[in-house]
């Protein structure tokens, strides 16, 4: 039995400890918002917040989230209403097919929480979301939406990231490290 906090509520699952968090969320917790893209930590579609940090849930064995707080895209709304970030994605057309969208939202939510009401620069948004790939390639509008949400949040004093919580000790440090390492190698490979 593995216990953790999922979108603010306690959750117990009886699953094999090495089952991917991604599959536990979709199959055992009936939260299909988290999508599988590549299955190897390259595309970021399956991003969730683990103790406030973005991880690829395809790389996290569920045993690693024991006692941790997990927030999925389903946990980003505000009592059933879209958060400022989600609203900005809708209003600015920042989603096409939608498979990358949950990962984009979760990763952007972490960025906005760290920004604490400051509007991140376009460069900062691009850097923060560098590990999230979009095949419809709606990148420009995604950047615009994240910054619009930040502007809205800085206006009304509320961060559009209700699901994101204070950072704690990362339980999936290995996954996080692998992911950022991957992002780095990907970039350096592209630059030669």
């Amino acid at each position: 039995m593995i216990e953790f906090v999922l979108n603010g509520r306690g959750r117990r699952v009886r699953v094999p400890p090495m089952k991917r968090l991604l599959d536990v969320l979709r199959e055992d917790c009936s939260l299909p918002g988290t999508k599988e893209g590549c299955g190897e930590g390259e595309c970021g579609a399956c991003s969730v917040l683990l103790d406030g940090r973005t991880v690829c849930s395809c790389l996290v064995p569920v045993v690693q989230v024991r006692g941790a707080r997990v927030v999925t895209v389903e946990g980003l709304d505000r009592g059933g209403r879209p958060s400022a970030l989600q609203r900005a994605f809708i209003d600015l057309g920042a989603a096409q097919c939608g498979i990358c969208t949950p990962g984009m939202l979760v990763t952007a939510a972490e960025l906005l929480r760290h920004a604490r009401g400051r509007v991140p620069s376009e460069e900062e948004v691009r850097e923060a979301l560098a590990g999230n790939l979009c095949r419809c390639t709606g990148y420009q509008k995604i950047v615009d939406a994240v910054r619009a949400a930040a502007r809205g949040a800085s206006r009304d004093g509320a961060a559009g990231t209700s699901g994101a919580r204070a950072p704690g000790r990362s339980r999936a440090g290995t996954a996080r490290a692998k992911r950022s390492r991957t992002a780095r190698t990907k970039r350096s490979r592209r630059r030669g």
Partner: protein, 538 residues
């Protein structure tokens, strides 16, 4: 390949199959299920509420869909079968390759005289790989021999703008080399040889307007004279596409509670078809979009063709418009007696039905619908001539920097001049242009299916080594959408993805002076081209 892999959920109820498939064409998918499984098509229902992108690769049920249906039958239970990432790479098609040897003639004053080309391409095992060549420009004398090469690899699919990026690239890099040969600016050279201006051929205007907006006059001749390893350059390219509509059918219900439901068996690939259906119906009925429910993606709804060739908007919009007008006319006929006027005197706007020119003499939409009583308005309609057409044109400009020590290309900015007839929804139309351009950046710099030369096996069937552009690879993109309402709806999914890669390749040539004749421009290829240039060029 798509971010959502190909796959299906199949469930049988007796001899009735319901298949939730990630497909670009629910009706044709149902037809193919029926044919392959040997059952009547009326026994198959295909549903695609939402899907994770298709890009030309998701039409048929494919092997995985048929296996899924058969397993569901054997198991007597619903079966879900989604391909994994490796299977997605190996089994769901790709853009066919292209290779050409070209000789061309040009006069000293820059008029093209002749094109003589031999081309080859492979669409895998038993599939064709032809593409338009020469592309767009006017060669008074032309000869071209194409050979399809069959190899033991997965078959090609109709990846976004089939054939055009290949033909465009081969022709456009030739255009820059020819322009240099006769010492004429590439934009001027293209204007001299572009087809004459027509509503579907706006290239000359786009070249001129785009060059001004882009700052083309700052472009240096081939080879950036600036010292240091970072060289900058500009390139240009033009494209065309057909688009246009076909026979979509639709159904509209208006009930006494004022609810409006529009049903159409089209599907939304992520391009915004559901939005389009809602917008067209709402505008026709004078209602906010929130008052219209669009139901699509189901073979239980009226027929609509598959979404390919940038034909969906031009197929669906007229059908929804015509059917909504029919429904509104039927509603007018029922409401007119209540208002003591003839149906022809009524208009629907701002959520009200009222007498033309006298908004006070009317009823709110909901109050008007109450007069329907127990008999709702329920009408069928279909696509008709006059609201759509085909043929689009576009020109793109690119500015890049190239690090000649590492071979790495960075794209600084892109300007796209594009038309698509009547723009139905600017937001989603722009998204298609952004998406098309960035997909073409993938084509230009990143995506490369590597096959083992001996075995034909794909050696990079994953997202680690099959590269895609990320957010930090994206330049500033400016879009100039030329709205041409008089042309009707045309479609925009494909045209913007055609010429970006050619403009980038020409910009790399302009920056470095090296001859660029192959894509993608991975650093090692750029370095090889630079080496060749040092060795005396081609």
């Amino acid at each position: 390949m798509c971010l959502e892999t190909h796959g299906a959920v199949c469930e049988w109820d007796g001899d009735q199959l319901t298949a939730w498939v990630t497909t670009q064409g629910v009706h044709q998918c149902a037809q193919q299920f029926a044919q392959s499984l040997g059952i009547p098509q009326s026994n198959v229902r295909v549903i695609t509420q939402y899907m994770g992108g298709g890009f030309g690769s998701k039409f048929a049920p494919d092997v995985q869909g048929l296996i899924c249906a058969r397993l569901a039958k054997l198991a007597n239970a619903p079966v879900k079968l989604m391909l994994d990432r490796k299977e997605e790479h190996l089994d769901t098609g790709n853009r066919p390759s292209a290779f050409a040897q070209i000789r061309a003639g040009v006069t000293n004053d820059g008029k093209l005289t002749a094109f003589d080309g031999r081309s080859w391409g492979t669409g895998g095992a038993g599939a064709n790989a032809n593409f338009p060549l020469p592309y767009l420009y006017q060669f008074p004398n032309r000869r071209r021999v194409h050979t399809d090469v069959y190899i033991n690899a997965g078959q090609q699919r109709a990846m976004r703008a089939p054939g055009h990026p290949q033909g465009c690239f081969l022709t456009e890099i030739l255009m820059d080399e020819l322009a240099d040969r006769v010492k004429i600016d590439p934009v001027e050279f293209r204007i001299k040889n572009a087809p004459p201006k027509a509503p579907n051929q706006m290239w000359v205007e786009y070249f001129q307007q785009g060059a001004r907006q882009f700052g083309w006059e700052k472009r240096h001749p081939t080879g950036d004279p600036a010292p240091g390893p970072i060289k900058a350059g500009m390139g240009v390219s033009a494209h065309l596409w057909g688009g246009g509509g076909r026979g979509t059918q639709a159904h509209v219900d208006i009930t006494s509670d004022g609810a409006v439901v529009v049903r159409c068996g089209t599907q939304d690939l992520g391009t915004g078809t559901r939005t389009l259906v809602t917008i067209v119906a709402a505008e026709t009925l004078g209602l906010p979009t929130s008052a219209v429910k669009a139901e699509i993606g189901d073979t239980n709804y009226p027929f609509s063709p598959g979404s390919g060739g940038s034909t969906t908007a031009a197929s669906v919009s007229p059908a929804i418009r015509i059917t909504s007008i029919k429904a509104l006319d039927a509603l007018f006929a029922r409401v007119a007696p209540v208002l003591g006027t003839a149906p022809g005197n009524l208009v629907a706007e701002s959520g009200r039905i009222h007498v033309k020119g006298d908004p006070t003499k009317g009823l709110a939409w909901k109050d008007a619908c109450k007069h329907l009583g127990t008999e709702p308005i329920t009408v069928d309609g279909q696509w008709g001539e006059g609201l759509s057409s085909s043929g689009t044109s576009g020109v793109q400009f690119a500015e890049v920097t190239v690090d000649i020590e590492t071979g790495v290309v960075r794209i600084k900015r892109i300007l796209a001049m594009q038309d698509c007839g009547l723009i139905v929804d600017k937001l989603t139309a722009e998204s298609q242009v952004y998406g098309g351009i960035i997909a073409a950046i993938n084509f230009a710099l990143f995506e490369d299916r590597l096959l083992d030369r001996v075995t034909g096996q794909m050696v990079n069937p994953n997202m680690e080594w099959y590269l895609l552009a990320g957010m930090s690879d994206i330049p500033t993109i400016d879009i100039v959408l030329n709205n041409m309402p008089e042309r009707g709806v045309i479609g925009i999914g494909e045209p913007p993805t055609v010429s970006t890669a050619s403009a980038i390749a020409n910009a790399v040539r302009n920056a470095t002076g090296a001859t660029i004749r192959s894509l993608p421009l991975h650093p090692h290829k750029v370095l090889a081209a630079l080496e060749q240039q040092k060795a005396g060029g081609t």
